[in-house]
Symmetry: C2
Subunit: 333 residues, 2 copies
């Protein structure tokens, strides 16, 4: 083991960190329910329990980690404000959390992010600094703000962010147990890997026999490639996807160290499957799910995750999609 | 007071009947949350607490009343099966409840009901008898089944149905109190008036100062007309509406007797307002709401319900809409 890897391992959040995050966000984040549809169970041949983070404050799970991070800054650090880079959902989580603390938030955001995400960030009082997703390094764009003394709230590669997102896994485990359901697997969308790492940490602590699966766009499969390579590699730089929330170019150092230990596998999902999953979620769960948020539900057609007779939690991680795109994807049968 | 009115009054369900219904449906109906969006609060200038019955079993509130009614039949009555007439949501509620008891269900349903509603009823094992909404009397179509000994599960004009729907109001009152919110008003869609009568009974018992408002399509406003006339009158027979769930031709005898006592007023909503409400619910609450289900939320643009600085619960009563219509209504800005 290299010294480098050792550093990452030392920072891995524990179940205690996730429970601490759960206490911090209580009453501020929504405890989203587990939803079940007899029609979808019949269609897929397994028992599917959906975790609708589309109903979360700001429309995605991202508020959990952002609030946990900002709440953990010292009062002095917090007073100098926060800066974040994000494709949109993390931006909204940071803007909402910063708003609750009444501090300044600067968000470095791709110029082509969905309008709904940019509008929501502005409505929450944060400042947007746009950048070119394909030509500029967002970390470099954010650097001047960090040098001014603002705290960087990373989108995933931070133990406090991972612990915050891990509360999704804690709630899934608790609510499944309360329903008397034994989880065979949890499937979650995977961008930078923070949500998956947090969920995996919680679920493996509480239900070690439950498998953790991730889902990435087939053309933006950096975590799948990294798991195959045994070390972090990037997605195809030419790859694009309708799943804007999942277009992180490379897994995080910390998140990959966690995920490579705990995850059963990552499925690459097609855009056709994503659209079908969005349609099924709208028709049977009455939920608006964004493309990236539907990736885990879109993983079933690949056949890689066994379904028959099993009980599987499916994370619907976000719902921030422009309604004209939503209409286009769900109306086409 | 006429003898006739006296009969209706005698059958009015009480808070005890609603609590009994709540015990019967517990663990079978979903206890839907109260959802709030800071962006919608800001847009409308009041605090809006949404009761998303789109997340209810079968995608609308109708399961509550149907299950309460069927559970209250004697075992012998139940064994002979049930028959219902419905535009679609009550049909699904009856089909689901009958399915839980393993009994036969026959549903008399308009031939032009949304495909999703008919498909769902068939998927739950019920038999559909189609009829012409504009040319046939559905009560006459249902009669032969009643004469065979099957129990009629009316869509609204039955104290057990009203008590079941009243659990929506009970949950709103309890959850608002738990949030520390004092409700100035509750607004609910109104078809035959069963949901509104049940909610009004619960809310007025638990929070007498809270106003109850209904919302009907402006072209299918039988309850509004009846309140103005002081007695039950029908909607314009030539009226049509995109709110298929609210196209009951006349208020029920029982439901009108309750609503005329307890309701502050009924607002007629335009199709433009309904589409805007569906769009706002999709964009900010991430919910798929059907046209009729969005009627209460569509009542605000009329200005009849004071909003500024007030706290108002808004019932989103159902989400069973064909996705192509949903796309058409929500994508158009």
């Amino acid at each position: 083991m290299t010294a480098h890897a050792h550093t990452a391992l030392a920072a891995m959040p524990t179940m205690d960190d996730i429970r601490a995050a759960a206490r911090r966000i209580e009453g501020l984040a929504r405890r989203t329910p587990l939803l079940e549809s007899p029609a979808l169970n019949e269609k897929f041949g397994g028992r599917l329990l959906f975790k609708p983070e589309v109903l979360q404050r700001t429309g995605s799970f991202k508020f959990r980690g952002a609030y946990n991070k900002i709440a953990s800054l010292t009062q002095e650090e917090r007073a100098r404000g926060v800066v974040a880079f994000s494709s949109g959902n993390h931006a909204q989580g940071v803007a909402a959390a910063a708003g609750l603390f009444g501090i300044r938030a600067v968000i470095v955001m791709p110029a082509d992010a969905p309008a709904i995400k940019a509008d929501n960030v502005r409505a929450m009082g944060a400042e947007i600094v746009p950048y070119d997703r394909y030509g500029q390094d967002r970390e470099i764009v954010a650097r001047p703000y960090v040098e001014q003394g603002m705290a960087l709230v990373k989108p995933f590669d931070d133990p406090l962010i991972v612990a915050g997102q891990g509360t999704v896994g804690l709630e899934i485990a608790e609510d499944a147990a309360a329903m008397g359901a034994r989880l065979d697997a949890v499937v979650t969308p995977c961008g930078g890997g923070g949500l998956m790492a947090g969920i995996a940490t919680a679920i493996k602590a509480l239900s070690p026999e439950t498998q953790i699966w991730g889902a990435e766009p087939e053309n933006f499969d950096d975590t799948r490639r990294s798991l195959a390579a045994g070390s972090r590699v990037g997605a195809d730089p030419a790859g694009t996807s309708i799943c804007d929330a999942l277009m992180s170019p490379m897994p995080g150092e910390l998140t990959f160290a966690i995920n490579r230990k705990l995850v059963a596998g990552v499925v690459g999902v097609t855009e056709t499957s994503v659209a079908a999953a969005m349609r099924d979620a709208a028709a049977h769960l009455k939920l608006v799910v964004e493309p990236g948020g539907a990736a885990a539900f879109a993983a079933f057609p690949s056949g890689e995750i066994a379904l028959a007779g099993r009980t599987i939690a499916v994370v619907l991680s976000g719902g921030n999609v422009d309604l004209d795109l939503f209409a286009r994807l769900t109306a086409a049968a």
